[in-house]
């Protein structure tokens, strides 16, 4: 099993690569390095104290779990929506398709306020759920809900084109080999979608971790319970503890990086087989 190196038809690798590196450095790497630098300028004792304080640890837990939960839920719902949009030519499909992009365009604070007024104990949905004993606003569930809204387009928009290009004859082949629709879905369609599904989920997850605007309204920001990491960072900044803010940010960054790395590895393993045929 060897990978064939094919040289590109279009020349100019040196130029484009150089540009890419300069650009990435200016926009991404240097600001991030600044974070590390800021943290490095602090007193280690203090840094460790900040990072391991129960309030910060709790915020990490809240941020990671709600983002992951929302990303996974979006993985399921997004797949379903993408499927419906690609496979069934219902009337109004164009309209629904356009709706998907709304979370991209809407200022996140607007989404946050709208969701909060809907799901707060006095809101429409909040009352409904309150009756069956489920509190949504001001709980981690509420945070997940906001992230669900924010992350949906990532999953739908990454799966959609792949589904569109998927040859239906592979599914037909499975049918003629005796597989039921269910088996065909699980054994044939889903594995083909896996790489793009992972991409979509990891994008939604990454977005969720960094999300601030829509979450702060619905979360209630109770320390130890519904306080998210980005909010904690801002709190530190407001207290002029720049080192603490940078330290929390760096840990967040490393954690996200680690998780994205794991997801990308999975994705690479899944994608390896999909090429060239």
């Amino acid at each position: 099993m060897s990978t064939r190196r094919t040289s590109s038809v279009i020349p100019g690798f040196g130029l484009t690569m150089g540009y890419t590196i300069v650009y990435l450095s200016l926009i991404v790497l240097i600001p991030l390095a600044g974070l590390f630098f800021k943290m490095g300028s602090g007193d280690w004792q203090h840094i460790i104290e900040v990072i391991t304080s129960p309030r910060v640890l709790a915020a990490f837990r809240v941020s990671l779990l709600t983002s992951l939960g929302a990303a996974l839920a979006n993985g399921v719902i997004g797949l379903l929506i993408a499927w419906v949009l690609v496979r069934y030519p219902f009337s109004g499909r164009k309209f629904v398709d356009a709706l998907i992009d709304l979370p991209f365009a809407l200022p996140t604070a607007v989404a946050g306020i709208a969701l909060t007024s809907l799901y707060s104990p006095k809101g429409w949905m909040g009352q409904l759920f309150g009756e069956i004993g489920i509190k949504i606003a001001y709980t981690p569930l509420g945070i997940s809900l906001a992230l669900l809204f924010i992350g949906l387009p990532f999953v739908v928009r990454t799966i959609q084109p792949v589904l569109q290009d998927a040859e239906t004859d592979v599914e037909e082949a499975a049918l003629t080999l005796g597989a039921s629709r269910w088996v065909t879905f699980w054994k044939v369609i889903l594995p083909t979608l896996l790489p793009s599904w992972l991409t979509g989920v990891s994008l939604a997850f990454a977005r969720g971790i960094g999300e601030y605007g829509s979450v702060v309204f619905i979360s209630g920001n109770m320390p130890m319970k519904t306080e998210i990491v980005p909010l904690l960072i801002i709190t530190q900044l407001e207290q002029f503890d720049y080192v603490a803010a940078a330290s929390i940010a760096v840990v967040m960054l490393l954690l996200s990086f680690l998780m994205l790395f794991v997801i990308n590895t999975l994705q690479w393993l899944a994608r390896r087989r999909m090429q060239n045929t």
Partner: protein, 355 residues
Amino acid sequence: MSQWHIDVQNVNKFYGEYHASKNISFQVEKGKLVGLLGPSGGGKTTILRMIAGLEQPDNGSILFRGQEMNRVEPQKRGIGVVFQNYALFKHMTVFDNIAFGLNVQKKSKSFIKERVNELLDLTNLSGLGKRYPNELSGGQRQRVAFARALAPEPQILLLDEPFAAIDAHVRRELRSWLREMIDRLGITTLFVTHDQEEAIEIADQILVVNQGRIEQHGTPIEIYQSPQTDFVARFIGESTQFVPKGIIHGFNGVADGREVLIRPEFVEIGKPNEIALPSAASQGTVRHLYYRGASWEVEVEVGGELLIGNRSVEKSSLKIGDKVSVLVHRLIVFENGKANIVENQFKYDPMPVFI
């Protein structure tokens, strides 16, 4: 039970307004290899897909061994299908691809292993079981697709241009391999092809499909030698078509004002002393010569028409401008969409009086 393995009766299929299959009827005996031949867009794939159950006929019936299949799902029809672009499962190894149908049937592990290895041998793929489809050549993928379709032991095999994406040499090999394998397993097989030579070489029977209709159903010899419609005569084999202006010797009065078709193999070209029946031959002039490896393709002008014939490279060579004798053994005359074969009159008259 019916004597026919596949019996298609008056099937019609519409895609919206478009009438893609028009009153299709044909029968196939068990174990036969039937080729569907015809121009692009003629409706060959549509017929195959209806037999597979991937498409529903709008009316008419499809029967397997006398049993109506219209409402039966593709999973339950006992068919194997090889798609034009293979449609292999890319995320599975060759072994798992072939085992798919058996896994679906919940066969035991040991049975599956044995059967898959048997098929890998049959398709000359032993040793490649652990590879993924993107690590195979086109011909190998093709054979995986065959093995996968054969694994659940289908009664009927449906092949949609199985060799289209394969180069000429490998194609020829796969072709005879297919014929042998089908004979060995006794599976009734329908295959679509664009390649006449392929159909004529391996098929027991050919269906010529054009504009949603079956133009003719017969053995390769029947299709080739006695085309029944104008379309089949033109479509099969090489030919020159024209309305004769002058007289072709041996066909007096036959083709007056009507279009005729002459195939190269109907035309014998030789120096005057080489033709056995000089009385039946016309005189012509060599206009072009093309070297075809095994023979010369000779373009001769006879009575103002250009005819094409072949000449063995073993015979003495001709030059452009040579005067030659041209014996036209037979020609096909068209009348109201029908094709009639007419033999050279002088060849069969015991002794023409006017020598």
